[in-house]
Every structure is written in structure tokens, then in C-alpha cells.
Subunit: 198 residues, 2 copies
DNA sequence: AACATGATGTCAGCTACTGACATCACGAAC
DNA sequence: GTTCGTGATGTCAGTAGCTGACATCATGTT
């Protein structure tokens, strides 16, 4: 069935293992090559050596296949906020959490870049990315509230944190020379502070 | 053809006028009554007294019918930024522009509330709303750059402005007593400044 | 060797959305 | 007042995203 699909050495029989991973790779490749709209779910499935139906068993829709890691990212941010020392200000708590998030992506800059390019090229994918970031912000706000930060401070601090992440991310992948993503976050956070102080 | 569609006195013949407006009203009503997913485009069209095809001539998709005013809002914000005195800081420029935007919605609080409720109830609609806000932010950032504000300050200031708008909007429609939306913006902006100063 | 299980394949069907073409109401030209 | 151009609508066929129901197959358990 799998035909020319990626076959590894360790094949212990069964179907080709890791259909999920193959689907993610196939989708990113096709979105990059011909664009999101010109790619059909059947195309992705075929390239991964499975059926269209199987695609929808692993991912809720055609967009979600690009957003696998977002859950882990959110967990990291929330954990960082929960673990922050009580003495820190809300903004610095969120800032430190975003640094943690940045460190997760640090080593996969090429991948992050290709993915970002695909997303930037299509409004549908942008919408999904924005929703993920909004959820990240909501989770961060909730974690802050858990620490005793009141509204609207919690919500505002979380929003600023996400904004810092967005702006820093863009700069990070735009840079010619690979710079440190975490450093970028710090710089952008300082920028935000400076902006609101004048 | 129009059947029981809303008929006004001034009917000068022709088809029922303002199919676009009727579609918008029908959509909001149905999204509120049975929810977005349980509403079919054919339902909306029927309620408005037109065909499904006509719906798609007026709106690009099933979500867009709820976001008619977003273009005008963005123009208002950009115009306010362009007209701001040169002495103001970027943050205050954006803050003032958001106050202008708030004033546009001020008198239609009930409508804004119903619309917000429908959006809050469905992720698909949230995505679209987030995209509109992101575009608003991008336009604001561009307007700031036009005034000489450099990156990443322009992007960051715009993001903070949008964040202030989001947080203030939520509080505005959550309040029991109708308070002044513009006031809420001001307060939230002060919150943001206080957060980044400690 | 029979069986329970999880992942996949197959198939039918709904709905969002689009292109192509016909039609109709109105106003302008004649 | 008849003809004609135009813009908005209706009709129809077709693609693609997505789902439910059911069959199948590889595994390892008994």
C-alpha cells in the first residue's frame, strides 16, 4: 500500500510506522512547494503513504498538521510561570517564561523558518497560528492569576508577553546570522519597557 | 421570491433592497440562536430571502459576514495615528488611536455584545477576529513607521495598542453598567504602563 | 489456533465554496 | 415607448474539506 513511501531499515513489519510524523513532513513539504491552497489533503496522504481518512484521524483539519508542537510550548510557558520566584513582577515572570519557550525552538531554526514561511504565505494558516498564540496568552494569564495577580493586570501582562514573543520571533527568523532567540526576547522586552516609560 | 423577508415601506420595486444588510442580520441572529456550526449558509440565505450563491457574492466566506465594520475601524485607527501631534510618544499615539476606535463602537454596545458572544462561542470565528486584529496591528505599525518610528519599537507599540484594545473591550462588554469604552482604554493603557515600570 | 485490540481502508454523504451561464429589473439611449 | 446595456440575482454542476459507519488487517494474548 505504502508504495514509494519513506521506508526505514528497522521495519519490523506492520504498517509503516509513524504515519503521523510522515503526514507532518509531507504537509510542510507540499505547502512549501506548491502552497497551501494548491495542496489537497489527498495529496498529503498519498505522499505519506496513507489514506485521506487516516489524515483526519491524526489531525482535526488541514491546518492543524502544522501546529503539532504548540501544546508542548504552552505547557512549558505555564510551568515556567508557576515555577517563577514570588518576588518577580508579572511582566518579568512572563518574560522569563517566553525565554523558556524560545529555548525550545532555538535548535530547530531551519524548521521554524520553513514553517513560518508557509504560514506567512496563507491567511488561513495565519488564523490558526493567531489562535494558538491567543490560547497561549490565555493560559499564561490564568497561570498568573493562580499566582495572585489580578485582572486586568494578568491579562495585560500575558498579552504583552505574547506580543514580545511574536515580535522577537519575526526578528529571529529574519536575521541573516543566527542570533540567540532568547536574547532577542530579552531585548524586545526591554524595548517594551522603554516604550511605556517615556 | 422574498417571501417573508423583511419588507419596508419605501419599497420602490426591484428586488428587496439591501440584501447585504439582511444577510448580516440573518447570520448574526442564526449564529446566536443555534450556533455557528449548526447554521448552514443556505439557512442564512433563505432567512434573508436570497440564494446561497448570492451570499457568497457579498461575503467571501461564512465567517466574514460578521466582520463588516473591521475595515472602517482600521481606517479610523490609521487616520488617528497619522493626525497625532509629533510630540507624542509612540505608545500614546497608539493609545489615542484606540480611543478613537472605541468611540466608534460606543453607541452600539448591545450589537457589539451579541456579536462578541457569537464569536466567543466558536473557535472558527475567533480565528477570524484575531486575524482582523492582527491586520489592525500591522496597519498601525506601518502608520507609526511612516511617522519615523523604527522597528522593533513600531511593531511593539502597535501590538501593545491592540492588546490594550482587546483587554479593554472584554471588560467593557462584561461590565454590568454601561461604562465609557474610551475610559476603559485609558485605564488599561495606564495598567500596561504601570506593569512595565515596576 | 481463536480472540481482543488498535490502526487503517472503504464508502457514502453533507456542506463550504467556485465557475459558467441564464435571467430579470432598471435606467439610458434612441 | 421600444431597445439596449448593466448590475444583481438565480440556476446548475463540480471540487474539496470533513464525518460517520462499517470492513479489514497486523499484532500479541490467551
Amino acid at each position: 500500500m505504502s508504495g514509494a513511501a519513506i521506508t526505514r531499515l528497522g521495519d519490523m513489519g506492520r504498517w509503516e510506522p509513524d504515519a503521523r510524523g510522515r503526514l507532518m513532513l509531507a504537509a510542510l513539504a507540499l505547502y512549501t512547494e506548491r502552497g497551501y491552497e494548491q495542496t489537497t489533503v489527498a495529496d498529503i496522504a498519498q505522499r505519506a503513504g496513507v489514506t485521506e481518512r487516516t489524515f483526519f484521524r491524526h489531525f482535526t483539519d488541514k491546518r492543524e498538521v502544522l501546529f503539532e508542537g504548540s501544546g508542548a510550548l504552552q505547557e512549558t510557558v505555564v510551568a515556567a510561570i508557576e515555577a517563577a520566584p514570588a518576588s518577580q513582577t508579572p511582566i518579568d515572570v512572563v518574560g522569563a517564561a517566553m525565554v523558556r519557550a524560545a529555548q525550545m525552538l532555538q535548535e530547530r531554526r531551519d524548521f521554524a523558518r520553513q514553517r513560518a514561511a508557509a504560514i506567512a504565505a496563507n491567511p488561513s494558516l495565519q488564523e490558526r497560528e493567531l489562535l494558538k498564540l491567543a490560547k497561549l496568552g490565555a493560559a499564561a494569564a490564568a497561570a498568573l492569576r493562580e499566582r495572585g495577580v489580578r485582572e486586568p493586570a494578568a491579562g495585560m501582562a500575558a498579552e504583552i508577553g505574547v506580543a514580545v514573543f511574536k515580535v522577537a520571533f519575526e526578528q529571529w527568523i529574519a536575521d541573516r546570522q543566527p542570533v540567540d532567540f532568547a536574547d532577542r526576547i530579552q531585548e524586545t522586552l526591554e524595548q517594551a519597557k522603554a516604550l511605556t516609560n517615556a
